[in-house]
């Protein structure tokens, strides 16, 4: 799930579980400590030979977490605790030209080389007014010295180069105050949840053909505090609850087959009930059994493909939507760095990116869709800018990109999409023109009609695509074979797909991947469904290619989509041998 999972695997021994969950300090006192230290820093923090800060921002995250994993009826681990972390940003120079948007290998890559803590610090969980100020004091000192050094370095680089990029470094923003403390704090029984996980993970015992499995739960109750020197302040709760189950097996020819189920929500009581989860796991197991028996494609398939529900959502979330984020090229001593990922639309504003019957809206202010809670809901972004619902693509044409306060050439101000320090989507709704919205059967018919025109013996429906977060968090743990990290570009692993024959018969296929789907492919959407599907995911952050990302809750509301031409091919790598011995679950004694 979140980044935390990786951390917990790496530093198990040092995993600290906190029992005290109540605040010993009020929301007001926390904000006051931040204000007081920020003011002191703005007033008096400077070294004579260097510039004074023109902007300082403090953020603090108080996080209560609960996490557990279960395997075949028994927990493998569980933890609950509290973590407090602060982050300080200092800007030196002015809005036009400051120390940011500059890649400085010598500082940013070797922070703390002399055992000095950085501008992001863990804070005592039992902090009070003074200890909080103290931690902010040390972090600010560090951040200021680094900012001042980076600024001098940037100036000297600029003096020696002709830089075409004269975009300001930071967009001014009017102060905004947003205090959201009047929320119901969800209460839930963690012991009961752990018990439920054990019971749910027992279901896999009935499917000994499955080599390995996991049932997992995570709940975060975060409070985020923010103040900046322009007068913006906020307190916002960020709640997250996730349930995941996954299973994996190897077929007789060695091919690994994976399937998963995930349900995410803000608060625990909005997750599906236990009996629904039970059904979901049974269906996941049945599905694995079914896929394991299936044949793979004999040959590559190129033709119309219908993507339904989860698959349509993942397709948009992984391939299209990350391109809708504004990205700023960084300056370095070697010149302006080229952007490396998701750059398709950076210069495309005004151009057509989808068929004219499709529009895309960013709707962070929607808390739910037809009763399903949306994970990407927020009222104020992480820079304190009030969120707004905006059209991003209208009737096929790109209107804007999702931005934060770091301007890019075409977008000079924030449209409130800063999430964890860089532009990131929250809730994205893909809205079709009704004329092009058809029922599932109509879509299927249309696909078969196209197949007939192209002399294809069958069409393909893709129902499930591998999720990026689960691929890199859960599956490495349970994989029965040596796990390969990293994925080939433009390749998507298909979890569940069917051949559809002219008589309407569907036949499951295994071991296929989607090749060459790019943003261009979305222009070839010819029809869409009339049943919007909500995909809640933990989406990888799209930040600079030099920083390691984490995951953040996001939602995509999407209809089924029929693409005129897509390529599916059988996975053609050497598989590891199937198990030499049978799973003990299959043994009689």
């Amino acid at each position: 799930m979140k980044q935390f999972r990786c951390l917990s695997i790496l530093v198990l021994l040092f995993l600290i579980v906190i029992t005290k969950n109540t605040f010993g300090i009020s929301h007001y006192e926390i904000l006051q400590a931040m204000r007081d230290e920020l003011k002191r820093s703005m007033d008096s923090l400077f070294i004579e030979t260097l510039q004074k800060p023109y902007y300082i921002e403090y953020s603090l995250k108080v996080s209560n977490y609960y996490q557990a994993n279960s395997f075949l009826g028994s927990l493998t681990d569980s933890s609950q605790g509290k973590k407090v972390n602060l982050n300080v940003k200092v800007r030196v120079g002015d809005y036009k030209l400051d120390n940011t948007n500059f890649l400085d290998f010598s500082f940013s890559f070797f922070l703390g080389g002399f055992d000095e803590s950085g501008s992001s610090r863990n804070v005592p969980v039992d902090f009070d007014y003074f200890s909080l100020r103290r931690e902010f004091w040390l972090a600010t000192d560090f951040a200021y010295k680094n900012a001042a050094k980076t600024y001098s370095k940037k100036i000297s680089v600029l003096k020696n180069r002709v830089i075409k990029d004269t975009i300001p470094d930071f967009a001014y923003s009017k102060p905004n105050k947003f205090i959201d403390t009047n929320v119901n704090i969800p209460t839930f029984d963690f012991v009961k949840v752990c018990k439920m996980l054990e019971e749910l993970s027992k279901i896999f015992l009935n499917y000994p053909i499955i080599n390995s499995s996991i049932v997992s739960f995570e709940h975060f109750q975060d409070w985020e505090y923010f103040v900046n020197s322009e007068g913006t302040e906020y307190i916002k709760p960020v709640f997250f609850t996730g349930f995941e189950a996954a299973g994996t097996l190897q077929t007789s020819d060695g091919m690994p087959i994976n399937d998963f189920y995930s349900a995410y929500s803000t608060v625990p009581n909005k997750l599906p009930e236990k009996d629904s989860l039970e059904k979901a796991i049974v269906s996941l197991c049945e599905n694995l059994v079914k896929i394991q028996k299936a044949k793979t494609l004999e040959d590559s398939y190129s033709g119309p493909v219908l993507f339904t529900e989860q698959a349509a959502g993942e397709l948009f979330a992984q391939v299209f939507i990350p391109n809708l984020l504004a990205q700023r090229s960084l300056l370095s001593e070697q010149g302006t760095q080229q952007l490396s990922r998701y750059t398709a639309f950076q210069t495309k504003i005004g151009g057509r990116v989808l068929p004219e019957f499709l529009s895309i809206y960013s709707v962070p202010l929607k808390s739910d869709f037809n009763g399903v809670p949306l994970l990407g809901y927020f009222k104020v972004d992480d820079e304190g800018t009030p969120a707004e619902n905006i059209p991003v693509v209208q009737n096929g044409y790109l209107k804007t990109l999702l931005s934060n306060r770091t301007p890019i050439k075409r977008i000079l101000s924030s449209n409130a999409n800063d999430r964890e320090g860089s532009p990131m989507f929250g809730n994205i709704e893909i809205v079709p023109d009704r004329k092009y919205s058809k029922s599932f059967n109509e879509l299927k018919q249309k696909m078969m009609q196209l197949c007939k025109q192209r002399d294809l013996p069958f069409g393909i429906i893709v129902k499930k695509i591998m999720n990026q977060n689960l691929y890199s968090t859960i599956f490495p743990v349970i994989s029965p074979v040596e796990y390969k990290f990293g994925r080939e570009q433009n390749i998507l692993n298909v979890v569940e797909a069917y051949k559809v024959y002219p008589d309407g018969r569907e036949e499951v296929i295994r071991g296929v991947e989607l090749k060459g789907i790019t943003t261009q492919s979305f222009k070839d959407i010819i029809l869409v469904g009339n049943r919007p599907y909500v995909l809640n995911i933990l989406a990888p952050l799209v930040s600079s290619s030099f920083s390691s990302g984490g995951y953040i809750g996001a939602s995509v509301i999407v209809p089924d989509i029929l693409i005129e031409d897509a390529e599916l091919r059988p996975i053609e790598v050497d598989f590891p041998k199937p198990p030499f011995l049978e799973n003990p679950l299959l043994m009689k004694n």
Binding site: I16, L45, E116, P584
Partner: protein
Amino acid sequence: MKKAILAIFFLFFWGFLETTFSQSEQTLINSLKKELSRFIENLKSQQYPPYYISYQVFDVESAGVTNSFGRTFSKGSSRFRFLDIDLRVGDYQLDNTHQTERGSFSFSSFQSSRLPLNGDEKSIRSAIWNATEKAYKEAAKQYQNVLSSKALKVKEEDTSADFSREEPSIYFEPRAQYKVDLNKWEAIFNRVSKIFRENKWLLEGRISFSYNNYYEIFVNSEGSEIAQNDPRFWISIYVRTKADDGMVLYLYKNFFGFSESELPSEDSLKNALTEIIQKLKKLRDAPLAETYSGPAILKGEASGVFFHEIFGHRVEGHRQKDPRSAQTFKSYLNKKILPEFMNVVFDPTIKEINGFKLSGYYKYDDEGVKAQRVVSVDSGVFKNFIMSRSPIEKFPKSNGHGRKNYGYRAVARQSNLIVESTKKVPFSTLRKMMIDECKKQGLEYGLIFETVEGGFTFTGRTIPNAFNVLPIVVYKVYVDGRPDEMVRGVDLIGTPLTTFSNITATADDLGVFNGTCGAESGGVPVAAVSPSILVSKIEVQKKEKSEEKPPILPSP
């Protein structure tokens, strides 16, 4: 005959096991044994069948609380089970772990998986099965690489086997459960840590309590079955500040015990905090030392760490096999490397010395071999390497020093390093001997190294075989009788053999350092014990330091 005795022992202990083990541990041990024999039996027909499998389960229970500047920084506990598998294909002489020049011997790729904390036999066996399948495929692939790499290479310098043959060991203890009262420690820390806040020049001030019990279950295909507890309790103090010239300064102190009751009282902690803060303050104001070459005393604790770093790591057996290692002591077998009045011993079988607890104690090592006392240097003559089950020329057997943390492959690691001496004088005499030596060399002062934080040592062939030890507290001792002066900012450098030959005497005291040593098989608890030693000539150089000024604004 031996086998028969073992079988009787085994039955006896098995009976014992039935009555005292909890159901959960019993299920785990049964599961391990069943999967182990199933894999050995059923893979016999494969092209590369495993000739050895060991399962080691680390059932880890840990708890801790840390206080920073008077507030609880973190507090909690955890429990989990890790399974490490050592699966070898080939034979004792040449197997998949064989180290080739291009490094097919990979420490990080060791197979490690989580096991359910409870669960019935079938589900635990299913987890073990899945992990073993992975381990076997990996081992077979490695072995294939070893074979092809060997075919291309010239004959190796050291032709000893990859794995030693050892007698199986049988030992059982039920899992010990310790009731640790974190609230008590939290309250004590809240009281004693007020002193941090009173010293505004301190940038970091932490005190922490930690406990962990590694309940280790080890079974292998040679018949070893071991279940042992390894409980450890620590209190650590860490303080950090910055001198006006930007130098980062810190001090730390560890207290170690095998039970909670062996840790210091609240009053002792209070005193320790006061003392360490005062010392750091003094250090902050201390002048920078200049480069120096001349006599010095390494006090007991500093000398222990010094020996651990520059001697101990060089006598870890497996390094003598690495074609890239300088193998400093390989050609010194049965030759003099230290003065004849000195011995160096590695002894994991003792729990304490002169009332000091020793954290390098264990019963069986991580390859199932019983812990053994190893005399490495006897009357100045180098006699023994510390050995895991990776044999080297002239040392075909393990001497119980194959150690690791979970997730790693065991290699030869240190235990309790003990420097012994027969030429002992009172410390005051040693000090006078140093002053006399300084006078003889025409020097204004000598140095006393009180504490060192560790260091690093180069053992490769491509770089000079020097060491760099990092002293924290150093005093100048003037020959004209002026008071001793604390100095800062030096590193102790040199080459091991030259430095050893310059040791002229030791004191009748004993210093003990307990800590965790990190190397390629992960962090393992070790101890270093030594009397203060007088070295007629050492060298110090200036320490690299941060250019950052202390915080601009005063502490809020």
